[in-house]
Amino acid sequence: MSMGLLFDATRCIGCGACSSACKEQNKLPGKVEEVLTAYTWTTLQQKEGLNVRRLCMHCEVPTCASVCPVAALKKTKEGPVVYDAERCMGCRYCMMACPFDVPKYQWDRPVPIVGKCILCAGRIKDGKSTACAEACPAEATTFGKKEDLIWEARTRIRQKPGAYVDHIYGLTEAGGTSVLMISNVPFDRLGLKTNLPADPPAMRTWQVLSNIPDFVGVWGVFLYGVHWITARREDVAKAGDPDNGKGDQS
């Protein structure tokens, strides 16, 4: 059972209750900032007269989880992509690789960790909704089963023709995400990335990595073969040489 969030930009009133609830739930210090930081896991941005939520999209095949060398990031079966700060050694490849630029770092601390939305994984396990969805007074952020949310989004788009852009952001982006967004303004104008391939980026590295064992075998045999042939050739040359190898072999 995979859970998710549906954010409807046409309904959001910009009160910021979601961001404040997130700070409280995750005990994050400081005020809500305008961009995502290690201490602001979700925020509202004003674009084209609308308010857009920024938060981790919780990809179905998360790029961050695929690139993490110590498997500190993981997709849980309930939907959230969670982070184990105890494992993280701080290579920041997740930040580099995330197609949505979500993971952020504690640059100001001598012992830093990554900060990002974890879709209130603990609350979901307890059968509750996320703190942001619970706090939303306008039902702009809805929590539920991902399949129900897709159905709900399609219904809203179908019922009011012209009121929405005919696209659910997150359905295919970077292989699909657990957080979905709908809007009446094209998504690129809301500051969301629209150049993302529909295949998960993780597939591109896995194509290479999955071939390494085969490659090692073939390459090793080839290299030994080269050595075998050249060494044999030297032996033959020495045997045929009247000097019998006493001369130098250049």
């Binding site: 930081t37 060398p69 920041r92 930040m95 001598p110």
Partner: protein, 386 residues
């Protein structure tokens, strides 16, 4: 004079370069202290928009890449059996080992929590290119240390372990070549994951191969360059009879690489950004002219290859172009998507320069202390028992 200069027991006399090194080293130590007390933000210009900077682009990517001469030459001598290149293998392995040590020190500074570096051994994620990189760094540094160890054993008169390693040299070299192939290409694979971020002048599904081949080319360039530098520092003569054929190898390698890069750009339909002379286009032109076109064209002429000045100049351009390529991929090509500009801070530069200087100082020390350069090649002092 020469005899004294190259004897392992030569008295160390501090000069101008020693002073420069000491200043750089102290600056490096200061930055290290600030970095570990105040955090990465206090010393670097890195940010949430730009999490990888000079220490990854130069220290890691170039440190590993320019160490490629070691596996190339060990393969040439021990697998392709071109024994005449043997005299320059030892300094090349030493450069490789120092290059990798340089990378490890840089990683210890760049990682947020370097004291957890052993986590890569315990917590596995075979889906991560960084996981592959971590294992290759560990294993190949070990292989390089073992390949170099006979030099140390000889110096202290332990001949038995040196003989054992000598007998195992073929499997050892094969292991080193496999690990290097994986490692060099994996640095290109690192960037396969960012198709929507890296500029199409550089992004290509073939990046692992681009990184591997260009590292061989630039690695050969480094071998030539380092022969020249040690010639100047230790008053040796240039082994032109060995370096000239190496330059031919460099021409072929860089030629193949250049062609592959152009094919990649054609597939991405990115020639427009060169013709439009965009920021990325200009940086690409600079990199490609310096690192591919000029070395390939100039070193194609036998007359220029046989002239020590031109030869060293060609190798220097190849190395410089290689460094520019790695910086373009890690910095220039990523800037547009990040929505910000990144210029390394003074303290980031101090760390990188300080590490290069330390590498050179250790190289100089090793050459004075151990039998690196062989008998008969500019080293008349090396007589058994001298």
């Amino acid at each position: 004079m020469n005899m004294v200069a190259t004897q392992p027991t030569r008295r160390f006399r501090p000069g101008f370069w020693t002073a420069v090194f000491v200043v750089l080293f102290l600056a490096f130590c200061t930055v290290t202290v600030i970095r570990f007390t105040k955090g990465l933000g206090a010393v670097t210009n890195l940010s949430d928009q730009f999490p990888w900077g000079l220490w990854i682009g130069f220290d890691l990517l170039c440190g590993v890449g320019l160490a490629a001469g070691a596996f190339t030459l060990t393969a040439v001598v021990h697998l392709f059996n071109l024994k005449r290149f043997e005299p320059i293998v030892r300094p090349t392995i030493l450069t490789g080992f120092l290059g990798y040590s340089f990378v490890i020190v840089a990683l210890l500074l760049d990682l947020g929590q370097p004291w957890r570096i052993w986590h890569a051994i315990v917590y596995w994620n075979p889906h991560s290119v960084m996981f592959e990189v971590a294992w290759c760094v560990m294993l190949y540094t070990t292989v390089l240390a073992v390949e170099f160890s006979p030099v140390v054993f000889e110096r202290f008169g332990f001949h038995a372990p040196a003989r054992i390693i000598h007998r195992l040299i073929t499997p050892l070299v094969i292991l080193g070549v496999i690990l290097s192939t994986l490692h060099q290409s994996s640095l290109g694979s690192l960037y396969l994951i960012v198709p929507s971020k890296l500029h199409p002048l550089w992004y290509s599904p073939m990046m692992p191969l681009h990184f591997y081949i260009s590292a061989i080319g630039a690695g050969i360039g480094m071998v030539i360059l380092e022969s020249y530098l040690s010639k100047r520092a230790f008053h040796r003569h240039l082994e032109m009879d060995l370096l000239e054929p190496l330059a031919r190898g460099m021409v072929v390698t860089l030629g193949i690489y250049g062609l592959m890069r152009l094919q990649g750009i054609r597939r991405n339909h990115a020639f427009g950004s060169i013709l439009d002379f965009t920021y990325e286009g200009q940086m690409f032109l600079l990199e490609f002219t310096l690192g591919v076109i000029l070395p390939v064209v100039l070193m194609s002429f036998r007359r220029l290859r046989n002239d020590p000045d031109w030869l060293v100049g060609g190798a220097f351009m190849a190395v410089l172009g290689f460094v520019m390529n790695r910086l373009n991929i890690s910095i220039t090509g990523m800037e547009a998507a990040s929505g910000t500009r990144y210029l390394p801070s003074a303290m980031e530069i101090i760390v990188s320069v300080g590490l290069v200087a330390t590498g050179m100082a250790v190289f100089a020390f090793a050459v004075r202390t151990f039998p690196i350069f062989p008998e008969g090649s500019g080293d008349p002092a090396r007589k058994p028992g001298a």
